[in-house]
């Protein structure tokens, strides 16, 4: 558990010093209260989904279901299935392509620098922070003009391109931390850029690929903005469909909550199983300064 627990950082600091048993008990109690508050929405999500239609009422809102039912889940599943499939088909390719591009960029920017590399890197990084609204109208226009609207291509393109900055950042930091002697040795032996990359750098890149793939998959999966601007009803990913299901007042709560859980399960499972890598992607977003 500790090994793969997300948010794993260095060992606790100052253990023992100044933490009396009473202080410890107080801290533990406060943490339990906060944990309960954090769990409230999750409780609602989990419990409401299992209520039959007749129990999804205000009066029984906070109670456990009298009768556990799968009705909400099956209805939500049939409403969301096409969206889930669209999300998979769009998030996987864009994660893979931007990770590969990020790896090449990160390698060059960390280890094979060219004049102006810092400027290029800074310009890339700014791309990570821009509000995507600032590119949306022209992007939409360009895709329409080019006859590229329709299907998932616009979404794959957008997530790939706007994923390049963070992927480059993660790989650059990763490559800067591997020992330079390996690369130097290869260069002394006369290996060129691509050979060094393929034979020396790529074989040790698995952790950084895990981080970027997970990060990119999660952000593409959870995106809503690009999806509403760049896709039509047939290619809506799951976030748009979830919003449509939940946004219509006629859909009962049990189905809404079940739909929200279904739409979140893939990324939540990735977080729980591969939390360590998820965490590193998160931290990479915060330039340390």
């Amino acid at each position: 558990m500790t090994q793969s627990a997300p948010g794993r950082v260095n060992a606790p600091s100052g253990v023992g010093a100044g933490s009396s048993p009473r202080g410890r008990a107080v801290r533990f109690t406060v943490l339990l209260v906060l944990a309960a508050l954090f769990l409230l929405p999750m409780y609602v999500l989990a419990v409401t989904g299992f209520k039959p239609f007749s129990e999804a009422t205000a009066a029984r809102a906070w109670l456990l279901p009298r009768e556990w039912s799968l009705e909400g889940w099956s209805t939500a599943w049939s409403a969301l299935a096409p969206g889930l499939w669209n999300s998979v088909r769009m998030a996987v390719p864009s994660a893979v392509i931007s990770a590969v591009l990020g790896s090449m960029n990160g390698y060059v920017l960390a280890r094979w620098r060219f004049p102006g590399a810092d400027t290029v890197f800074t310009l890339f990084l700014f791309g990570m922070f821009i509000p995507y609204q600032a590119v949306m109208i022209p992007l939409q226009q360009m895709l329409v003009n080019g006859g590229l609207m329709g299907g998932l291509f616009p979404l794959i393109l957008a997530h790939t391109v706007y994923g390049i900055p963070i992927c480059t950042l993660i790989f650059r930091n990763y490559y800067a931390s591997i020992p330079g002697s390996l690369i130097e040795a290869a260069r002394v032996d006369g290996a060129g850029l691509l050979r060094t990359y393929a034979h020396v750098v790529l074989p040790v890149s698995a952790p950084a690929f895990a981080v970027t793939l997970i990060w990119q998959f999660t952000s593409a999966w959870n995106d809503f903005l690009f999806a509403v601007f760049l896709t039509g009803p047939n290619s809506w990913p799951v976030t748009v469909q979830l919003n449509n299901v939940a946004g219509s007042m006629v859909v009962p709560y049990n189905q809404q909550m079940a739909a929200a859980v279904l739409a979140s399960l893939p990324t939540l499972l990735i977080y729980l199983v591969l939390g360590r890598y998820f965490m590193r992607g998160l931290m990479a977003g915060a330039l340390k300064g």
């Binding site: 260095n10 010093a17 509000p131 691509l194």
Partner: protein, 332 residues
């Protein structure tokens, strides 16, 4: 540069890199030969990055340029050629009732969200810093909302923050009634003046864990010798935190503010999921969406988008330049 990859190395005394990373083979003799070979060594690197440079150039900077051009034009319908009108759109926006209201909403949201997530995240980090039973479970729980989309968060919180009055209350209001805490029953995000503060609650819930992780890494990156020295000097445990640990965490705090702030100014998904397009919760990003899909006014949509970009750029650009320069000067 990433907090995670570096903090580990720093705390363990650094198995890092004693030398500067290689910037090109340092051919020892011969100044001229060096100049010639140097270009040959860096050129392949530039070529390898060039597809990305092209993509970023076109899709980030090209599109921003095009958007700016639209914002400076009078193209107020999709099929219409616009001509240059200067800053007219930028000025006119402020003369509408909807725009200043949307800006105010975004500012209230940002203050509550950034302040709330920072405080809660800092508190969680502080509580966990000393190590406690079940730390991994707590961390996993507090961070979990980060893995979920704003839409899913919004769906749950719209239910939780249902503004129906006590007699037919649902969500948190129903819970308050249930617990005889009727005075807590409120209008949540539909309240005209402080509604956006309630709207920020789901965002705090979603990102406090992230801030916690940043601070926890920061706390534990402070060398124990520093804390010990302060204790020897007679500092209480609180004094150690305030005088020794917190000042070391200014960069982490700055990062957190920048990240949360830039998310907050362009908030869109969460508002749509909780409030749809109800005007009481209007923000610039939702306004822009309406301009594109309902009013179909490209110039006005682009103007709003430009304001969003400006709002983010004024604090992100100095931050980025400062970070990259600092990193360079530290020789990494």
């Amino acid at each position: 540069m990433s907090a995670s990859t570096d903090s580990g190395a720093a705390a363990h005394g650094g198995p890092g890199h004693p030398k500067r990373p290689v910037t090109g083979p340092r051919a020892r003799p011969g100044r001229f030969r060096r100049a010639a070979t140097r270009a040959r060594t860096w050129l392949p690197g530039l070529l390898l990055v060039s597809p990305s440079i092209l993509l970023i150039g076109v899709f980030v900077y090209g599109m921003i340029g095009w958007n700016t051009q639209l914002a400076l034009s009078d193209k107020h319908a999709p099929i219409q050629d616009g001509s240059f009108v200067g800053l007219t759109n930028f000025v006119q926006l402020w003369q509408e009732a909807r725009w200043p209201a949307a800006v105010t909403n975004a500012v209230v949201f940002t203050v509550v969200f950034v302040g709330g997530a920072l405080f809660l995240g800092w508190l969680l980090g502080l509580l966990l810093d000393k190590g406690i039973r079940g730390e991994a479970v707590f961390r996993t729980l507090f961070l979990a909302p980060m893995a979920v989309s704003f839409i899913a968060t919004g769906v749950v919180w719209r239910w939780l923050m249902n503004p129906a009055p006590a007699e037919r209350a649902t969500g948190l209001n129903a819970l308050f009634v249930h617990l005889n805490l009727d005075f807590l029953v409120n209008d949540w995000w539909t309240a005209p003046d402080l509604g956006m503060a309630a709207m920020a609650l789901p965002a705090v819930w979603q990102l406090a864990g992230y801030v916690m992780a940043l601070f926890l890494a920061g706390f534990r990156g402070v060398p124990e010798e520093l804390r010990e020295a302060a204790r020897v000097d007679g500092c209480s445990e609180w004094g150690v935190y305030w005088r020794v640990v917190m000042p070391q965490l200014r960069p982490v705090t700055l990062s957190a503010v920048i990240i949360l702030g830039h998310m907050s100014l362009k908030v869109f998904d969460l508002i749509i999921a909780v409030a749809g397009q109800q005007i009481v919760a209007d923000v610039p990003a939702v306004y822009m969406w309406a301009m594109v899909f309902e009013v179909r006014d490209p110039a006005k949509g682009a103007t709003i988008a430009s304001y969003l970009l400006l709002a983010v750029a004024v604090f992100v650009i100095p931050y980025l330049v400062w970070t990259v320069r600092k990193e360079r000067s530290e020789g990494r």
